[in-house]
């Protein structure tokens, strides 16, 4: 076993961004900026940026090398 324990760093990165992306998108869609900051003019930034993060997260998961037995090692 190498010093990376067969863990591809793209897996946790992809997973984190997917989770955060889903969370932000859902929050942005369900709560249309009721408390909006002084400068952000109306735009659904939570939702749009959440989607961007989601796409990035899924992309990272897709290009990650298939793990042999990630949890078992």
């Amino acid at each position: 076993m190498s010093a990376t324990g067969d863990l591809d760093v793209r897996v946790p990165i992809g997973a984190l961004f997917t989770v955060l992306g889903v969370l932000l998108t859902a929050y942005g869609a369900l709560e249309p900026i009721s408390v909006k900051s002084a400068f952000t003019r109306g735009g659904q930034i939570n939702m749009w940026w959440g989607l961007v993060m989601l796409v990035f997260g899924v992309f990272m998961l897709l290009i990650a090398r298939p793990s042999k037995a990630s949890k078992a090692t």
Binding site: Y27, I33, V35, F39, I45
Partner: protein, 581 residues
């Protein structure tokens, strides 16, 4: 809390995002817990990581919270000229270390930068470097911990103690579990989080001020109203002919030689904190590509970390950077009666004003990420230098590997405990920290002369290197002691031996101190080397340029070759400088 700085409070969504980030950071350490079998795994990731990972970690380890906050502050103070700290102040040195120096660091099989000095020179040169480096890493992570705790208290009303302890414990846990691999993996994760946390800040901010052209118009008006040249904030090179013509207060020669050559090469080419990332690479090829890969995002990072500060200066007409608080409670005024802004709050104010809940949590997670990556960088470099260069050399030479792995874990705990102690020292005695950082600056300034001569002039001797370093450090102290930035009183800012010259700015003084230190070290090293006995050539194979077979790039694709990557990066750098001249 600063009134008016936090128009919206945190909500559960923000806390949830921060908590999820923490969970992932710890999860990476947990996943790697069984992979740390030997000291090489723990300190050097078993030299097994691909270049893109070590490259992003190389960048991220340097991207501490002080960097992110400090670059925003400098953006508000100096405008786009702050990019010099990235463009000429980092990228050329990163290319140099990758193309020319990595063959010796990686090829010599040294496990740390001080160990390279031992192989190339002698024991005393290594000891000097190892001791000063070990102390420096602990104190700088202490200082950044203090800055972070103070900021979180100011912005969010979080307890200083809790912020410091929680972040320290998280960093401690993931390094203990997964060693350098865990630190590096988290640095890569943190890199992406910082990008995704700050990019929307810039997008929303630019949108608000009417894009880059709108920002230019507003900053030009501001510059004129303050009595500066019109392009002071928006041009990087225009006023560089004389210190009085630009906001940094330095002329092009001091900038290019002091920052671009001495300080930048001294840091990026010799600091074990960054070099360690490249040493963890899986091959010579990857080790050389590490800083080259890092150089590309480094070049565009100014837009991510400097622009928020510039936007904060003018957004909404009057900007959103709060004034420094005077002793009486009102805004602090300078001698001319102008309000003194608290520039360190430029980037945090942008987060607090521009992001709604949700994005705010992401932005704060990014800020915490930058803090953690910087701290982990310091601690992993500290535990390695302590274990290999100090413990194994002076305390216990011939223990088995398991013992050193154990000592590395102990050093991690002790290093973090010392850093926490340093944070509290910083909180109570501000001057002590300023003084220490000054001493480190003196020790660091001449370093590159030693490495440069050692790697490229085979005649350089150990005595030459040691005395060169020492006299360079002394020269730095003497130069600093004889000069003073305008408006300062003799003391920690300089002038303690009398004032021979006054610089327009502290930056100008720093750059010239570095130039003096480097030149002294360079000259003294050569003189002493000529007077002492050189080592036989056969001992220096693999350590000196002329005696080492040139690394032949095995990369098949041309875009993977170090030299090609270097040239393309330099061209891009040139284009950026022309665009923002």
């Amino acid at each position: 809390m600063v009134p008016g700085l936090s128009p919206i409070g945190l909500r559960s969504i923000d806390y949830a995002i921060i908590a999820i980030y923490f969970a992932f950071v710890l999860g990476i350490g947990w996943q790697l817990r069984r992979a740390m079998r030997t000291s090489t795994d723990f300190f050097l990731s078993g030299r097994s990581l691909p270049a893109w990972i070590t490259g992003l970690a190389f960048l991220s380890a340097n991207l501490g919270a002080q960097e992110v906050i400090g670059m925003g502050a400098s953006g508000a103070k100096y405008g786009i000229s702050t990019s010099h700290f990235y463009w000429i102040g980092a990228v050329p040195a990163m290319l140099f270390v990758g193309i020319f120096m990595m063959p010796f660091y990686y090829g010599s099989k040294a496990r740390s930068v001080p160990e390279y000095l031992r192989l190339r020179f002698d024991e005393k040169t290594r000891a000097f470097n190892a001791v000063s480096f070990a102390i420096m890493t602990v104190f700088s992570s202490g200082v950044s911990m203090y800055a972070m705790g103070a900021l979180m208290h100011l912005l969010l009303g979080w307890s200083f103690n809790v912020s410091v302890l929680v972040s320290a414990v998280i960093v401690l846990t993931y390094i203990l579990l997964g060693g350098l691999t865990s630190a590096i993996y988290n640095e890569v994760l943190q890199f992406f989080l910082i990008v995704f946390g700050f990019a929307p800040l810039v997008i929303v901010g630019l949108n608000e001020v009417g894009g880059w052209s709108g920002l230019q118009v507003k900053l030009t008006q501001l510059a004129v109203s303050q009595g500066h040249p019109a392009g002071a904030y928006t041009h990087a090179w225009k006023g560089m002919d004389a210190p009085a013509h630009n906001l940094i207060g330095v002329e092009w020669f001091g900038l290019v030689m002091g920052l671009g050559f001495v300080l930048s090469f001294g840091y990026w080419c010799t600091d074990f904190l960054v070099v360690q990332r490249a040493m963890a690479a899986d091959s010579m090829e990857s080790a050389r590509r590490t800083p080259l890969i890092a150089a590309v995002p480094k070049m565009v990072f100014p837009f991510l970390v400097i622009l928020p500060g510039m936007i904060a200066l003018v957004i909404g007409g009057k900007g959103i950077i709060p004034a420094k608080v005077a002793e009486g409670g009102g805004p602090l005024l300078d001698a001319a009666g102008h309000v003194v802004l608290d520039y360190d709050l430029a980037t945090p104010s942008m987060l607090m004003h521009l992001f709604p809940n949700g994005m705010l949590g992401l932005g704060l997670a990014a800020l915490l990420a930058s803090f953690m990556s910087g701290m982990a960088g310091n601690i992993t470099a500290f535990n390695t230098v302590w274990t290999y260069d100090l413990y194994q050399t002076y305390i216990r030479k011939d223990a088995n590997d398991e013992h050193y792995l154990w000592i590395g874990r102990v050093a991690t705990v002790v290093g973090i405990a010392l850093a926490i102690a340093a944070a509290y020292v910083a909180a109570s005695f501000n001057n002590i920290m300023e003084l220490l950082q000054l001493v480190f600056a003196f020790v660091n300034a001449p370093l590159f002369a030693t490495f440069f001569l050692g790697m490229f002039w085979r005649r350089t001797t150990g005595h030459g290197a040691f005395w060169g370093l020492l006299s360079g450090t002394v020269a730095a102290a003497v130069h600093h002691g004889l000069t003073l930035p305008a408006g300062a009183v003799p003391g920690v800012k300089g002038g303690y031996f009398g004032v021979l010259e006054t610089f327009r700015s502290e930056m100008g003084q720093t750059f010239w101190t570095a130039i003096f230190a480097w030149t002294t070290c360079f000259v003294v090293t050569i003189i002493i080397s000529m007077l002492t006995r050189p080592r036989p050539d056969e001992e220096l194979v693999g350590l000196v340029y002329s005696l080492t077979p040139k690394p032949v790039s095995t990369a098949r694709a041309v875009w993977e070759k170090p030299a090609f990557l270097g040239i393309v990066t330099l061209l891009l750098l040139l284009v950026l400088n022309l665009l923002f001249r």
